[in-house]
Symmetry: C2
Subunit: 142 residues, 2 copies
């Protein structure tokens, strides 16, 4: 079974334009062509999933290209690839931590507005103790 660029675009939830852009940036070094037309196979899907993953954890396209190039080197680049993956691991962990921190602030705001609406006015809750209000600005997760 083979797939056109727009099939894959639909599957990944991006535009065909975007996939051509990724290809131009060198992210699909192994996709087959028939009469110049890109033909995706199931065997390409693992790679598409990897790209999709890296994109969704905010790896820049240039870094993805570096990763592609390392893959092309085979076993000689295993350590470098592990290092990149470990960097992404640290990255994703800090992103999750940061979001969880700010989730608390958002939850507080939600409670604040809910109460304010209930009371009919913000002035009734203006000086609610805010857990985060005592934090130093420079201690926030970066």
């Amino acid at each position: 079974m083979s797939y056109s660029i727009s099939d894959v675009a639909k599957m990944m939830g991006v535009s065909a334009h975007t996939l051509r852009y990724y290809d131009k940036e060198g992210l699909f070094p192994n996709v087959k062509r028939v009469n110049g037309i890109r033909v995706f196979e199931e065997s390409d899907f693992e790679w598409l999933r990897v790209l999709n993953c890296l994109r969704n954890i905010n790896m820049p396209i240039k870094k993805m290209k570096e990763y592609v190039d390392l893959c092309a080197l085979g076993d000689a680049s295993l350590r470098e690839r592990l290092a990149m993956i470990e960097e992404q691991e640290r990255n994703i962990n800090s992103q999750i931590k940061q979001l969880q921190y700010y989730k608390q602030e958002i939850d507080f705001k939600k409670a604040y507005y809910t109460k304010a609406i209930e009371m009919g006015s913000e002035s009734a809750v203006r000086d609610w103790p805010c857990k985060t209000a005592t934090l130093e600005l420079d201690k926030l997760p970066g």
Copy 2:
């Protein structure tokens, strides 16, 4: 106690340029000026923390501006503000969920490369069962 723009920049971990840009976009409607120079007070810090929070959960600056404008309307905009915060709550929850999902893929990759290095070659682990490899592309968290 009052603070200059570069004091605040240091505290927030952004550049003074960036803060002036935010101001130009209307995100600091209440910061005092003395001889045209911005003077930040402790009383501005709660607002800086809110902005910092919204920025870190990837709210676009235009949306932050909308929020600023709603705040200026007082009690009349409480419901709209709650709605915005609730949207951000959904948003942040889906961001966290998505990152946690892709964290699994990264953890798998890490184990994969670790094993490959141990074995001396990727070919030894090439066909490891990958939990995520069976997923439909279009079932991935968006």
